[in-house]
């Protein structure tokens, strides 16, 4: 079914590469089981107790972040492609949601958050595969006032949106089957280790390791997805007609609707990352709102000056840029920091989707690199500045590290994410290309992915 016809020579190559893939895939689990180290951080506290308010907010946050992917991101991206490919975008977001949910249940959660194995700096163990041991009354080890089931769901929504972000880059030309295989591998082999390194108590990059600050996913989600997006367009190549033919959005109302949903849902993303309904969540919400607004105006202003008119797509892109950039900072910076981060994000990402993209000429269809990778980098670095109390922030750790010290930590975490995700994504894409072929045929691309991949069309207004 999934495998296209292959000649004997090619088949042998496939076999070899598949073997390699399996080996790589096998490393983590084995690593995970290697050693059952001592019980993790938490423990010892004065008998943890579920807090219904915190739980209420985290249940809500989970819904909000899921809402970001479906329908939020699906609509944001869907409106930007040509009519003939709109369903392929919606379908990919929808099915990635399903796929990652299952992967997360099987092993993803455990690999990301169940530490204590021999490679605890890099990856978790498989002790909680199939969510084993998580009962109705189990509290989340990393957030002792809410049930672990809620924590599993909340983190799952992050694991869902990250690969979904990538599809914007290779939109309008990747085979559906190839996309599924790639995302399965990517979720397990790229998302899991990065997530573990940054957010697990003993992860190499986070609080228990290097000490880089990433409140809600600047590295884990945005830089990670953004650089994988770059890898994907380098491997799959440009769309037919790029850059001579214009590919104007087929439905800007859909895109603005999606952007609005992303904005609203992002409150779950950032304020939810407090894993509690408290002042930290409140401040995270406030700075998210402020940075996003500022970035919207910033992008709009630059566009108005540079191109004569402010566009709706510009405003929406600015908002997303602001949301991306404030993500790593949202638990550490104050309102003034948020204004600064928003201002910078709008302008920088504007350049990302115009200047930078033109400079290198890659065909990042929906600007995942320019907005998510660049915005994520800007946010991560500026977090290193505005998290300090002297710049209106709240991070004692950053104060201790000092401006330069913290910036180095931030840069290191960005660098590791960039390199690991880029290289691993490249390898996985090549493997998938050999296995089933990444790209649809020219004729299919011309006809559109909706009919060729899914046997459907988006609109039938005259039916």
């Amino acid at each position: 079914m999934l495998l296209d016809m292959l000649g004997p020579r090619r088949r042998r190559m496939v076999a070899r590469l598949a073997l390699a893939a399996i080996l790589v895939a096998a490393v983590w689990p084995i690593a995970g089981f290697a050693e059952d180290a001592a019980p993790a951080a938490a423990a010892a506290a004065p008998a943890p107790k579920l807090d219904s308010g915190d739980t209420a907010w985290m249940l809500t946050s989970t819904a909000l972040v899921l809402f970001m992917t479906i329908p939020g991101l699906a609509l944001f991206y869907g409106g930007l492609v040509r009519t003939k490919n709109v369903l392929s975008i919606l379908m990919q977001c929808f099915v990635i949601t399903a796929l990652v949910t299952i992967l997360w249940t099987l092993v993803g959660y455990s690999l990301c958050f169940e530490g204590g194995g021999g490679f605890d700096s890099y990856i978790g163990t498989l002790k909680k595969a199939f969510l084993m041991g998580i009962g109705v009354d189990t509290l989340a080890p990393l957030a002792l006032t809410i049930p672990e089931s809620v924590y599993v769901c909340y983190q799952m929504t992050f694991a869902i949106i990250t690969p979904a972000l990538i599809i914007g880059a290779f939109a309008e030309r990747m085979k559906f089957s190839a996309m599924l295989i790639f995302m399965t591998l990517w979720s397990l082999l790229v998302y899991s280790p990065i997530c573990h390194m940054v957010w697990s108590p003993n992860g190499a990059l986070g609080a228990g390791g290097l000490g880089a600050l990433d409140y809600a996913g600047g590295t884990v989600v945005h830089i990670n997805a953004g650089i994988a997006a770059l890898a994907s367009v380098l491997v799959i190549g440009k769309r037919k007609g790029h850059p001579t033919t214009p590919f104007p959005p087929h439905n800007m109302t859909m895109t603005i609707t999606g952007a609005s949903m992303l904005w609203v849902g992002w409150f779950g993303f950032n304020a939810g990352s407090a894993v509690a309904a408290n002042g930290a969540a409140g401040m995270a919400m406030a700075v998210t709102q402020i940075a996003t607004a500022m970035a919207t105006l910033s992008w709009m202003g630059v566009e108005w000056i540079k191109q004569g008119k402010p566009s709706a797509l510009g405003a929406a892109s600015g908002a997303v840029a602001g949301l991306v950039a404030i993500t790593p900072a949202s638990g550490f910076v104050g309102p003034v920091g948020a204004l600064a981060i928003g201002l910078a994000a709008g302008a920088i990402c504007f350049w990302g989707v115009t200047g930078l993209k033109k400079m290198f000429g890659y065909d990042d269809a929906l600007d995942v690199v320019g907005v998510h990778c660049l915005g994520g980098l800007a946010g991560a670095m500026l977090t290193g500045v505005f998290a300090l109390h002297q710049f209106g922030g709240f991070s004692d750790a950053a104060d201790k590290a000092g401006l330069v010290g913290q910036l180095i930590k931030q840069a290191t975490a960005c660098g590791v994410t960039l390199v690991y995700s880029f290289v691993a994504s490249l390898i996985l894409l090549k493997i998938v290309d050999v296995l089933v072929g990444l790209r649809v045929t020219d004729a299919e691309e011309t006809e559109g992915l909706d009919t060729t991949q899914h046997n459907e069309v988006g609109y039938n207004f005259s039916a």
């Binding site: 850059p243 214009p246 590919f247 104007p248 191109q307 566009s311 989707v353 200047g355 993209k357 600007d367």
Partner: protein, 113 residues
């Protein structure tokens, strides 16, 4: 009989239709088309990529009439559709050999009356 095909600016549709009604034309078929001519389209920009919309929205009216009405029709259209600015459109006159009203089977001038 003649078919008069008129390409006009969309917002002129109402006026032209009324002008035609005044000279006794009741049957018109209208379609949306895109026009390419001397009038130049506007530019749209999508994230820095400039996109010239060369094809402008136009409306095409078609009406099949008996020969004796031709002059009146052309005059009516010219008056109603003209704004004097580029892109006002064109009138084309094409011979029609026969017209039939499906409901009654009437043919010729009777069919388009």
């Amino acid at each position: 009989m003649k078919k008069v095909e008129v390409i006009i600016k969309p917002f002129k549709l109402e006026e032209v239709k009324e002008a035609l009604a005044e000279v006794g034309i009741q049957g018109i078929t209208v379609s949306e088309v895109k026009g390419f001519g001397r009038q130049k389209g506007h530019k749209e920009l999508y994230r820095g990529a400039e996109y010239v919309v060369e094809f402008l929205p136009k409306v095409r009216l078609e009406t099949v009439i008996s020969d004796d009405k031709l002059d009146a029709v052309v005059k009516a259209v010219l008056k109603a559709a003209s704004t004097g600015s580029i892109g006002d459109g064109k009138i084309f006159i094409i011979p029609v050999e026969e017209a039939i009203r499906i409901r009654t089977g009437e043919t010729g001038d009777n069919a388009v009356r």
